[in-house]
Subunit: 491 residues, 2 copies
């Protein structure tokens, strides 16, 4: 066929020359959401074909820390074992705050109720969790321990609204990057259950009938277009759009300054396919951004200021929340102030630009060309309160509060051009907790499901994202999509 297929435009079923593959459930993207959708759909008795753009399964979740944000129901086995009670209500309140002004009550409700069970389910699929707890403040555990404080739980304002518990459950893997192992286990399980996996397979567009119901999709494998009929539905789990600069420019231009955290196949095709059949999108402007900060965690005892010498965040909050605030400062300028006792080079970018060093804060102020007296006043105020273990303005917790005392003092530059940032997108298709994709009137589009970053899920607000939320959401709601699709009869 000479027809040009494009994710933004669906193919009418009347134009399908033949069905090359016939299945119950067709899944686009063999990552966290796709693998869990596949497992559940197979377990429910459906035939499943999954189409993955890469040559191997795993998706962007393979590049992650292999951590899921779970708890509630009094606590997972490992939380309880280490003395942490975790009520469903506390997880719920935390997730509602983390979702920001447009948090999804229905998704948060279902997830909070079943997150602890979901952890058990992941274990049952073969994902290993050692069951040991690592205290302290970490991005990912450098050890093979599997329970950490991974979010904003202990930081204001979250701590004021929800009793904190460590909820970052990490696959047992020594060092960073456990996502690879995590995904290997889930994908192995899916294949073992008889999912037909197609690699180097590019989803080109959806196929719809005259009533707008999704009947299948067109994929390209080995240079050939194949027409896939999906009797029960198509699940879009193809990731977000951080790898698509055109989409970023349009929807989330502030993320253009960051490199993708993910593997590069987050090209937004899943979202575009959804839009092509009348789906609506949510929070397309939102993204999670990392900046080079701790470790070493002594840096958390420093304070961030902007070009007005104003502080703007409690530095002990999750690094992504700190990052989101850093990049929003006037003229993209911010610095982390430290003294000699707490100084260290950020592990992630050890060659950070030290913008100023001095024996006094007056010297730092002058080197940074801040307004005379402004920085000195900010430091005096911070020191005075820190000495009393207080931070009345930003509510940094006492654990991280100490006055600056030992010169030389220094300012590490977090100005826009000086830091390497990494991001992924949080906006996507509007879905029900079942994964059913919604149109602009809030009605279900027949035959279409989405999960993972192709959908707008629990993690949907850059200021509230924390580690494990994306993987927790993708695996949990991937399962729901697989179950829903398998259980319906699509005419």
């Amino acid at each position: 066929m000479s027809k040009v297929f494009s994710p933004g435009r669906a193919l009418p079923v009347a134009d399908v020359p033949q069905w090359d593959i016939v299945t119950d459930v067709a899944i686009v993207g063999f990552g966290a959401a796709g693998s869990c959708a596949a497992i559940e759909a197979r377990n429910a008795g459906a035939t499943v074909d999954i189409f993955e753009l890469a040559s191997a399964p795993g998706g962007s979740a393979s590049w992650s820390g292999g951590e899921v944000y779970v708890g509630g129901s009094g606590g997972t086995a490992i939380q309880r074992e280490h003395g942490f009670e975790d009520k469903t209500e506390d997880l719920h309140n935390y997730l509602m705050m983390s979702g920001g002004p447009a948090a999804d009550k229905k998704k948060v409700g279902l997830y909070s109720e079943h997150a602890a069970d979901h952890y058990t389910w992941l274990e049952a699929q073969g994902v290993p969790f050692k069951g040991t707890y690592l205290p302290g403040k970490w991005i990912e555990p450098p050890t093979d321990d599997t329970l950490i404080w991974s979010g904003n739980e202990k930081a204001w304002p979250f701590s004021a609204h929800s009793k904190p518990a460590p909820r970052g459950h990490t696959v047992q893997f020594k060092g960073w990057g456990g996502g690879k192992l995590f995904m290997e286990k889930l994908c192995e399980q899916a294949v073992k259950l008889g999912v037909n996996a197609h690699y180097d397979a590019r989803a080109l567009c959806l196929i719809t009938d005259t009533e707008g119901a999704v009947k299948g999709l067109v994929v390209r494998v080995a240079g050939k277009e194949l027409f896939v009929q999906a009797h029960k539905g198509v699940i879009l789990s193809a990731g977000g759009f951080i790898g698509n600069p055109e989409m970023l420019e349009r929807y989330a231009p502030q993320a253009l300054d960051s490199d993708p955290i993910t593997g590069g196949n987050d090209n937004g095709s899943g979202i575009r396919m959804g839009i092509s059949v009348g789906a609506t999108t949510l929070n397309m402007q939102e993204f999670f951004v990392t900046i080079p900060f701790f470790p070493p965690d002594s840096l958390v005892k420093g304070i961030f200021i902007n070009e007005r010498s104003q502080r703007f965040i409690n530095e002990d909050t999750y690094h992504g929340r700190v990052g989101r605030h850093v990049i929003q400062q006037p003229n993209g300028r911010a610095w982390l102030l430290v003294d000699n006792d707490i100084f260290g080079r950020p592990l992630i970018q050890p060659d950070m630009n030290i913008a100023a060093v001095g024996e006094t804060w007056e010297e730092i102020e002058e080197e940074l060309e801040l307004e005379p007296g402004s920085l000195v006043a900010t430091i005096a105020e911070f020191n005075r309160h820190a000495a009393e273990g207080k931070d009345p303005y930003f509510h940094k917790s006492e654990e991280w509060l100490r006055p600056f005392q030992t010169p030389p003092f220094a300012a590490i530059s977090y100005c826009q051009d000086d830091i390497k940032t990494h991001a992924f997108t949080l906006g996507g298709l509007a879905t029900q907790p079942t994964g059913e994709v919604l149109n602009a009137d809030g009605q279900v589009i027949a035959g279409l499901y989405a999960a993972g970053r192709t959908a707008c899920g629990l993690p949907r607000w850059g200021e509230g994202y924390s580690s494990g939320m994306s993987l927790g959401d993708s695996t949990f709601f991937g399962r729901q999509a697989g179950l829903s699709a398998a259980s319906i009869t699509n005419g």
Copy 2:
């Protein structure tokens, strides 16, 4: 027919029982964009049917100040007459900044080039502009003068990037609310040119062929569904979605705290119809918000602080920009500080809550329960610089700078529960400057156009919006949509 029509789902052309109305160009919404689209389409020789939900034409633009933001090309006749040169480049730079991170270069380019001509065109349609200039800082002219400073031109950071000129061109009308007259003239002109206007006509959904091209729409008039065939295209100019709480909750939840500025028919149906046929949306989270502030303009000499006693904005910037910052402050708390010389009751909400009054700033600080010493320090710093005509932190212009001097001092509450705010939405369908609606791959959807707040236009960022931008954009790009639709042959 028992079929339920819904904007979020298009009707297949095969399901159309008969064509009740056959026209070249069908327009949804007889407001600013719709009237101008109708005029141009008629002038280009097309037959035009326009469907308006209300019983009379005018749309939300009738509720506006009747002001268009135009200039460039060296200046409009009235700008030049009053000594203001206005280069296209300066208008261009200003509009790019006003559009925020996702500003639309193509639209800004076309508009800047032709804005001065557009003013002449509006005059030619019968919109009266007296041609007199009113100096000072106004929301709308209280007189019948027709040129004012209506935006952020003279305020930092805009003033640092673009030479300011007054660009608010207001219809000649004594007092606020000239939008009614402005729209009367445009709608009269459209009707005079032979546009078929249908009132109390609710657009229900679009009609598409199997290739996804838009062929017409279904409307309900007098309880009866009519099927409208549009040979050349459908133009969606049905306003934004500030009148639709469900859409606000989903896309722009922060606007839920505000009342609609507009007439109540901004129900988002135009946007939803676009989404139903695969259109993508932009900046759906953005909105323009007004707070009760000046007049009296002496209040602009006050300073806003948040609960940290931090200033956060140059108060001389456009009131919508101030408002956007006010509502974003931590815990929704902010106050405007004044002394006895500049105190006044905001015209828009004279019963504003005076949260604190005192002979000293220490008293104010205590009454507001701010951190001891914090407010006093902020005031001292402000006063010291203001006495020198400087504001090194927020760059308020010298014209509005004076130290506080005459007690009693007071804090007017701008805390969330104390102010009445009004808003309209700025997100909408992605379109070309021609009005052609785009799908998620950036391709044109055949037969579909959008303009005004149904599209994401020049005004697309709450922090950058200023008076006259919406009406300028709607009328100008409404014209482009009318011209484009009339000139094509839609099979």
